[in-house]
Subunit: 517 residues, 2 copies
C-alpha cells in the first residue's frame, strides 16, 4: 500500500530511529501542530469562503480549538513528555544534542509565556477578535470609526491585560512586541525608525511620481489570469497551493503541502492585485521551504521571526517584483492577458509607474519608499495606545495629524484613515514594526544574493527562471527554520548584523534607475 | 455589545435556565459538536478547494479530530456528566422530562455502540477511507477496477471488523445498516425491495424515453448562473449557504448558519447540474430547519435518519423539481441564462426530457423510476460483500451481470460500472438502501402536503414561491429533529406508516402526465 507507507514516512518513520521518550514527545508536538493547522483552515475559510451568517458559530469553533491547543501546550502531560525526553539527550551523539537542546529551550520559553495566559483569557481574546472582524469591516464600509471604537477599546483592554499577564520591564508594549519579534524592544525600534525617518526625507524628495500607464479599467478576469500564473513562475507548486481573493490579502500554511494565498482586485488599479500576489507568494515560498526541512514538523521547522517572514515577502515583492529583469519577462505576458499592445502601455511607462513614489493615504497601496513612513506612524500610535498615552476616541484626530506631518496628505474619512487596516481588530499590537524590519532584512539579503550570483538577471529576464534565487533563499534562510534567531540568521546569510544601509542604498539606486530609464 | 450577547444567546443563555448538571452536560455535548463540525469543514475543503498534495496531511488532521471526538464521546468525563444530569431530571416539570429522557436514551445507545469501537480502529478507518478517496478517483479516471481493488478489500475487511465490534443477531450487514437507518434489518429491506421490483417492471415498460431538447453544449458559466439562483428560490438563505463544484455532488452543514452544497457541471448534459443543486438544496433545507430548533445543538436537533434526510432531497428534486408548476416558473429564467429561445428548447420537449425514462448505467444520472433498480442492485451486492458471499475480485463481473438483468444494459468499462460511486471508498456500507427509503418517504409526504394545500401550484408556477411547502416541511419534519424515530415521524406527518403505494402512484401519474402533455 503505497499510500499507507507514505503517511508512515511523514508521521512515524522519521521518529522511529529516535529513543522512545523523544518519539513520544514529538508525537504530542505533532498532534498540537495538526490542531493548530486545523484552526488555520477554519480561519482561511472564514476569510475566503464562508457565508456571512456563519461567523458567529465559527468564532466558537476557533475559540474551542484555540483553548484546547493552549491547554495541551501548557498541560502536565506535555511537560512530563518534555522532561522525560530531555533525560535521554545524553544518549545521543554530541552533534545531534545541541539541536535538541535548542528545540527544548525554545519550547520551554514559549511554554512559560503561554502558561501566564489563563485558557479562558485566550478563548475570550480569540472570540472577541473573531467577532471584531465583522464590526471593523462594517465600520470601514460605512467609514465610521465610532462604530468600531467600543470594540477596539475592548481589544486594547484585553491586550493590556495580556501584557500584564506576560510581564515586562520597561513598558507594556514590549510584552506584545516580543510575541512577533522575539527579544525586540520598543525603545530600540524607536531609535532605528528615527534614523530611517531622517534618511528617507531626502530620498522621498528626489523620487519621481508617475501616472498610471493604463488608460482604462482592466477586467478582474484578465487580472486573475495573470495573477494565477505568478506563484508557479516564482517556484510555488500548483499542486501544493491555491490563490483566492479576500478583503485583505493574506497567506497561510494549512499543512505540509497546502499553502494558500489571497489577493484583492481593483479594476482601476490592476497592479495592486499583482503585487498582492508577489508579496503573499514570498510568504508562502518561505513556508513551503520550511515544510521541506527533513524533520518537519518540529519546533525548529517554524519560521524564525515575523521580521524574517516579512523579508521573504518584501524580497519577492520589491527586489524581484519591481526589478527591470522581472518586468522584461512578465511584460509580454501581461500585454497578452490584459489584451493590450505595447502602444497601449509602453514598457518605460509601466516600469516607471511600478517604481513611482506616490504619497498615498493607504498603506497597502504605498510605494516601497513611503511605506516605511506608514509603519513608523502606526508603531508610534499603537505603542502610545497600549502604554495609555492616548485615548481610543482621539484616534482619528491623532492619525490624521501624523499623516499630514509625515506624508503631507489630508485624510478625508475614517475608511482611508484609521480604519484602513485589519490588524488592530485582530489585537495584533506589535505586528506593524516587523514590516519595516522585513524591508531592512530583504534589502540586505538581496544584496548578498547579488554578490554571489552576479549574472542572475539573464535567468530572470530571458527564461523567467527564478530558481537560482529561490535555491539561495532555501539554503540561507528557509532550511534554517528557527535554528538561529533573526539576528544570527541575517548574519549567517550576509556576514553582517542587520542594518539599514542596504535598504537606503537600494532605494537610492532605484530612484536613479527610474530617472535614467 | 450586540455580538457578544448574540453569542451568549446561542451558547449560554439557552442553558442558563437549566439546573447546573444539565448545563454542564450540554456544554460538553456542544464542545463535541463544535469539533465534529470542524471535521466537516476540513472534509468540505478537501473535496472542494484543497490543492492535490494536501491530501496526506489532511488525512492526519481529520483522523486526529475523529479520534479526539470519539474519545470524548465514550470517555468517563462525559459519562459522569450524563449520570449527574439524569439525577436532576425529577426536578423538572413532567412535560419537559420526557424530552430529556429521550435525549439521554439516544445518547446512551450511541455511546454503547461507540465504545465498542476502539479509538485506534476509528482512526485507522478514517485514515484509510481518506486515502482511499484519491485511489478510487484515480482508478475511476483510468477506468481500472484492479487499481482500486486492494484498497476496497482493505475497507471491506475493516467494515467486517466494525460489524463484529458492534455485534449483530442475523448477519454482519445489519450491524452496518443500523448506523444509517436505526433499527432497519437487511431481511426487511430485502422484502420491501422485492415488492418494489415487481411493481416497477410494468411502470418502466410504459414509461416513455425522450431525446435531450438541447441542440448543443451549454457553457458551464451559463449553468452556474442558473444553478446559483435555485437554492435561494427554494428558501435557502444566501447569507447562510454557498454553492461550489466537486467531483461528486454533496451537501454538508458546517455550523448553525453555514450550509454548503456542491454540484458538478456537464456541458453536454446541462440539466444534471441543476438536478444536483435541487437534490443537495433539499438536504440543506432540512439541515437549516434543524438548526432553527430552539435548543440547537442538542442530540434531539440532529436529523432523524438517513432515509428521512434523503426524503427531503428527493422531494425537492423529484416531487418539486420535476413538476410542471416548478418548470413553468423556471423555464423563462433558464432560457435567459442559457441565452436560448422558446424555439431552441420548446417547453414541452424540456418537460418531457426532465421526466424521461432513459435506462442509464450511471446511478446519479438515472431517472426517478429506474433509480430504484440501481439501489436494489447495490444493496444486494454490498450485502453479499459484507456477508462474505462474494469476492472483491469478482465484483466487475457480478455488477455487470446485474445491470444487464435489471436494466438490460451492457457495462463497457469500470468507470461506468462498479467504480462509478464514491460510497464504498468511504466504507459507507448500508448507506445505499436509504436512497430508496427516501423515495418512498418523499412520495408519501408530498401526497399529504398536497391534501393540506390543494392550491399550492399557483404559488409555485406564478410567483416562484415555495414557502408554503417549506413551512409545511418545517412544521411536520424539520422541527421534530430526532424527537421521533423515522417510522413515527412519517406516521405523525402523513397519518400512515411508511409504505410504497404513494411512490408507485406518483410514478404512474407521472408517466400519464408526460404522455398527455
Amino acid at each position: 500500500m503505497i499510500f499507507d507507507s507514505r503517511i508512515d514516512s511523514i508521521f512515524r518513520m522519521a521518529l522511529m530511529a529516535l529513543p522512545e521518550p523523544l518519539q513520544a514527545y514529538r508525537q504530542f508536538f505533532q498532534k498540537i501542530k495538526s490542531f493548530q493547522d486545523t484552526a488555520s483552515v477554519l480561519h482561511w475559510d472564514s476569510e475566503v469562503m464562508m457565508p456571512k451568517n456563519g461567523r458567529e458559530y465559527r468564532a466558537k469553533q476557533i475559540a474551542d480549538l484555540s483553548q484546547l491547543t493552549h491547554e495541551w501546550s501548557v498541560g502536565s502531560e506535555y511537560r512530563d513528555l518534555i522532561k522525560n525526553a530531555k533525560k535521554v539527550l545524553n544518549e545521543l551523539p554530541a552533534h545531534e544534542r545541541s539541536s535538541w537542546e535548542r528545540e527544548f529551550s525554545i519550547l520551554e520559553e514559549e511554554q512559560k509565556k503561554l502558561e501566564k495566559l489563563p485558557s479562558e483569557f485566550v478563548a475570550e481574546l480569540s472570540q472577541t477578535t473573531n467577532l471584531a472582524h465583522a464590526v471593523w469591516a462594517d465600520a470601514k464600509q460605512k467609514s465610521n470609526f465610532s462604530d468600531f471604537a467600543p470594540m477596539l477599546e475592548k481589544i486594547i483592554n484585553l491586550s493590556r491585560k495580556q501584557a500584564n499577564y506576560i510581564g515586562y520591564t520597561t513598558e507594556p508594549y514590549d510584552a506584545l512586541l516580543d510575541s512577533y519579534e522575539k527579544g525586540a524592544k520598543a525603545s530600540d525600534i524607536e531609535s532605528l525608525f528615527q534614523d530611517l525617518k531622517l534618511e528617507l526625507i531626502p530620498i522621498v524628495e528626489s523620487a519621481p511620481s508617475f501616472e498610471s500607464p493604463f488608460n482604462g479599467p482592466i477586467a478582474r478576469e484578465k487580472q486573475e489570469k495573470l495573477c494565477k500564473r505568478i506563484p508557479s513562475i516564482l517556484g510555488l507548486m500548483e499542486s501544493e497551493s491555491r490563490l483566492d481573493s479576500s478583503h485583505h490579502p493574506f497567506s497561510t500554511s494549512l499543512g505540509k503541502m497546502d499553502k494558500r494565498i489571497t489577493t484583492r482586485y481593483s479594476e482601476i488599479d490592476p497592479l495592486s492585485s499583482i503585487f498582492g500576489v508577489l508579496h503573499e507568494t514570498g510568504h508562502s515560498l518561505y513556508e513551503a521551504g520550511l515544510s521541506m526541512m527533513e524533520e518537519w514538523p518540529t519546533p525548529l521547522t517554524e519560521f524564525c521571526s515575523l521580521g524574517v517572514h516579512e523579508s521573504q515577502s518584501r524580497l519577492w515583492e520589491n527586489q524581484v517584483g519591481r526589478s527591470k529583469a522581472f518586468w522584461e519577462f512578465i511584460y509580454p505576458i501581461l500585454l497578452s492577458d490584459f489584451q493590450l499592445t505595447e502602444n497601449d502601455v509602453p514598457f518605460k511607462n509601466l516600469f516607471r509607474y511600478i517604481n513611482s513614489t506616490q504619497k498615498s493615504k493607504i498603506r497597502v497601496e504605498a510605494d516601497q519608499i513611503t511605506y516605511n513612513l506608514h509603519i513608523i506612524l502606526r508603531f508610534e500610535i499603537e505603542r502610545d495606545l497600549i502604554n495609555e498615552k492616548i485615548k481610543v476616541k482621539d484616534l482619528p484626530e491623532i492619525w490624521n495629524a501624523k499623516v499630514k506631518e509625515y506624508l503631507g496628505l489630508e485624510v478625508e474619512n475614517d475608511a482611508e484613515g484609521v480604519l484602513q487596516d485589519i490588524h488592530w481588530s485582530m489585537a495584533a499590537f506589535g505586528y506593524f514594526p516587523t514590516y519595516t524590519l522585513g524591508n531592512i532584512f530583504s534589502a540586505q539579503l538581496f544584496s548578498s544574493f547579488e554578490k554571489a550570483h552576479s549574472n542572475y538577471k539573464s535567468n530572470f529576464r530571458i527564461n523567467g527562471d527564478f530558481s537560482v534565487l529561490l535555491n539561495w533563499l532555501r539554503n540561507e534562510i528557509h532550511s534554517k527554520g528557527k535554528i538561529l534567531d533573526a539576528k544570527e540568521l541575517i548574519q549567517s546569510a550576509t556576514l553582517e548584523y542587520p542594518n539599514s544601509k542596504y535598504l537606503i542604498s537600494y532605494l537610492k539606486n532605484k530612484v536613479q534607475e527610474v530617472l535614467s530609464i
